[in-house]
């Protein structure tokens, strides 16, 4: 080993002759990737609070900003993150998990001051001192902490689908459901967007922790039509899902279905009965219409100990869920399960009993403590272009009802469907199945006013319809049905150049020169639906306050008649989950009202 030298260290004296190291006073520029103070783009930020959730140190608070507008349907909360630099450790997990990418760290890193309050900031895009420093650490797609891709689900091939009305999607496998549930960031946007405010974050979390029973319990807090909504819900929740900002929203609907599929019927019945009031209240409520609104209302009231009787004109319960939704989307035995759970709570359903015909509204008023009507929208509207009075021009809703009822339908070899919404898809795809069965070939043309990128129907529905051979012709407005003698031979349409005016109101512009003929033995109109209020009778019709064509109701669903409530599609437009929500509201209102009133003998 070297003994070392006494002189060599003196070489360091050369440093005395070297220039001193000097540094400028102003802060040295930080690296491009630097983790300095936060910046947050308020336009992009949705206030989901995921940054606050991931924060190691609880350094992020979500601050309500009264001036910002809440938009639950778009998944935007009026709050923005505030950062406590007494706690922040600049790990930037908030950046890597942000669903929108609004939050970043800047290259600004100096803040000096005696006032501790200045260390608690509400960052905007300009940064802590409003100096617009460039961004440092910001979102990087290769290190995103969110899984933006949805789990896939098995579904039948189109040719197989066309052979029957069997349900076409398989539902999640347990592995896929677990993976899908694990994607959820628990921001609760879905809860806010859902008309019924379902506890989706809670049931998704329960599924993730492997507790399907708890998931169903959470589901039943707000929705007794979960078999149905697990399959056909319009899922405002998924539109609002934070993950949809940069990726695919959580498949909330399919997770609900998975939860319901995981339990047997007895378990579901038991869960639905948990916490139910066992002592009868002695109050009686009549509900007209066994659809989602009516039966949800019945469910709530029955749970509270009231005696509920539901009057249904048709032979089975479900309303539009049964008579409007084809079975390949919603198998009727699943709907039966939902109905059975409700009936198991003691709800009496009187089928084939048409109020206004078999029993009058006045009788119901006299015999019950309260009456609720939820009769849906079972009459189809017509475009009323020339020729629509031909017998082969039919309403989609009539066609769908006949198929469910098992009425023999004359299956047209060629059919034209007018409409671009889900009902139009239902009609077209039902016809495709009927045609496959009768002729082995699909010849359905669907004409929609909207362009392909603005269809009213779900993208999935459109895709699946196309896969099944339905020809979708976009941007066409109907001009007339072509009648040859008495016989309908097709539909003539013109090009629709634009649909809405600059105020966003409907005002389509047609190009009359661009006409086209769509051959068909039958034209199905699937544009809109209305209610048949004849059950009310002239006196009640005259007595009620109306809001346009619908009875006027208050926010709880109560009409101008104190004994009468109305809910569901007939007052709110068609949507199962809205109807469920309305059923809950009406039930709460009815309960409050009848509990303070004397019992009707």
């Amino acid at each position: 080993m070297s003994k070392g030298s006494f002189l060599r260290p003196l070489k360091a004296l050369a440093y005395l002759g070297r220039p001193a190291v000097t540094l400028p006073m102003e802060p040295r520029p930080a690296a491009p990737n630097y983790r300095g103070f936060h910046v947050n783009d308020w336009e992009a930020c949705i206030g989901c609070g995921t940054c606050a959730q991931i924060c190691d140190n609880e350094a992020i608070d979500m601050v309500d900003i009264p001036e910002l507008k809440a938009d639950p349907l778009a998944g935007i909360k009026p709050r923005r993150p505030a950062i406590d630099y007494g706690r922040c450790c600049w790990c930037a997990l908030c950046v890597d998990i942000c669903p929108t990418g609004s939050i970043s760290l800047s290259r600004e890193y100096v803040h000096v001051g005696p006032d501790l309050n200045t260390y608690y900031i509400l960052p905007d895009e300009k940064g802590i001192h409003g100096l617009n420093y460039p961004k440092g650490w910001s979102k990087s797609p290769d290190a995103d902490l969110l899984d933006l891709k949805r789990q896939t689900m098995g579904e039948m091939e189109p040719q197989e689908r066309l052979q029957s009305f069997a349900e076409m999607v398989a539902g999640f496998t347990p592995e896929a459901a677990l993976m899908e549930a694990s994607r959820c960031i628990q921001c609760g946007m879905c809860h806010d967007a859902c008309p019924s405010h379902m506890h989706a974050p809670e049931y998704i979390r329960a599924l993730w922790s492997g507790d399907a029973e708890e998931a169903v319990r959470q589901i039943y807090r707000t929705n007794p039509f979960s078999e149905v909504c697990g399959r056909v819900c319009t899922r405002r929740c998924e539109d609002a899902c934070s993950l949809g900002n940069r990726g695919e929203p959580i498949a909330i609907r399919w997770l609900k279905r998975f939860a319901m599929d995981s339990l047997n019927h007895e378990q579901v019945r038991r869960i639905a009965a948990e916490g139910r009031e066992l002592a009868p209240s002695g109050r009686k409520v009549a509900i007209v219409g066994a659809g989602p609104a009516g039966l949800t209302c019945a469910y709530d009231l029955a749970r509270q100990g009231h005696a509920v009787t539901v009057f249904e004109a048709l032979p089975h319960a479900g309303g539009m869920m049964r008579y409007g939704i084809p079975e390949y989307r919603l198998p009727y035995d699943r709907l039966d399960d939902d109905v059975d759970v409700i009936a198991s709570l003691g709800v009496e359903i009187r089928y084939k009993t048409r109020v206004g015909h078999d029993i009058s509204m006045e009788r119901l008023r006299d015999q019950f403590d309260a009456v609720m009507i939820a009769i849906g929208l079972h009459k189809g509207r017509s475009t009323r272009v020339p020729g629509t009075n031909n017998e082969n021009v039919i309403a989609a809703i009539d066609l769908l009802r006949d198929v469910t009822l098992g009425v023999a339908v004359d299956v047209p070899k060629k059919a034209v469907v007018i409409g671009g919404g889900n009902v139009a898809m239902d009609a077209a795809r039902t016809l495709a199945r009927l045609q496959t069965r009768a002729y082995g070939a699909v010849q359905v043309e669907l004409v929609a006013l909207e362009p392909a990128d603005a269809m009213l129907a779900d993208a999935d529905e459109v895709r699946e319809a196309k896969e099944e051979g339905v020809v979708i012709v976009n941007s066409r407005g109907p001009r007339c049905c072509i009648i040859n003698g008495e016989r309908l031979t097709g539909l003539e349409t013109v090009r629709c150049l634009s649909i809405f005016d600059n105020q966003g109101r409907f005002h389509p512009l047609y190009d009359h020169e661009d006409a086209q003929v769509h051959e068909g033995d039958v034209v199905v109109e699937a544009i809109g639906q209305m209610s048949d209020f004849s059950l009310l009778g002239d006196k009640l019709t005259e007595k009620l306050d109306w809001n346009g064509p619908r009875p006027r109701i208050d926010q709880d669903g109560r009409t101008s008649e104190p004994w009468l409530w109305a809910a569901g599609d007939m007052v709110e437009g068609p949507d199962v989950i809205h109807a469920v929500a309305a059923g809950h509201r009406a039930a709460a209102s009815i309960h409050n009202e009848i509990m303070v009133r004397e019992k009707t003998p």
Partner: protein, 172 residues
């Protein structure tokens, strides 16, 4: 090398109640009864070259009211790590020290005594090291709730930042 591995097998043959599992490259997990662990360590050291006590870890399992003690032993000769797991009940929460076999054990046993409250018979030093002024229960136990302690002990700082008066900053 092969000779050493054979001797490890010899150890296992001698102690038939061990549950041995190869959990990964150079990793072996052994489940051993508490009264057999010192023997195992002795055999491992004396016969199989497991000289280096890398660590002793303690895990609290309140469900069964047990502490799990894990002895991590490394053999420089065969490059393998054995983690010997054993469990002792909360009550009385005593175990024997392996100090006489592995001197570094004193450091870990002292730490476990301090943080979990396990008493090691024969350990020469179980004085507090970090918690010299601590009156509370052994804090690494699951029953000690850090957040509750912090909330009980410390004040949360309240801020009054300027922006709280106008959170929108004119952006609303």
């Amino acid at each position: 090398m092969n000779r050493e591995l054979e001797s490890l097998d010899a150890v296992f043959r001698e102690m038939p109640d061990l549950k041995v599992e190869h959990t990964g490259p150079r990793r072996t997990r052994i489940q051993v009864e508490a009264d057999a662990l010192p023997t195992l360590l002795e055999l491992l050291k004396g016969r199989a070259g497991y000289l280096h006590l890398s660590a002793i870890s303690c895990v609290d399992w309140p469900d069964t009211e047990e502490f799990e003690l894990v002895y991590h032993l490394w053999s420089y000769q065969v490059s393998n790590l054995i983690s010997a797991h054993t469990r002792i009940p909360y009550d009385p929460g005593r175990y024997v020290s392996v100090y006489d076999l592995h001197a570094p054990a004193v450091y870990f046993e002292r730490d476990i005594h301090e943080m979990f409250g396990v008493w090691f018979e024969g350990c020469p030093d179980q004085e507090p090291f970090i918690l010299t002024e601590w009156q509370g229960p052994p804090p690494m136990r699951k029953s000690f709730d850090t957040v509750a302690y912090v909330n009980d002990t410390f004040e949360w700082r309240e801020y009054q930042p300027e922006w709280a008066n106008d959170p929108s900053g004119g952006k609303g």
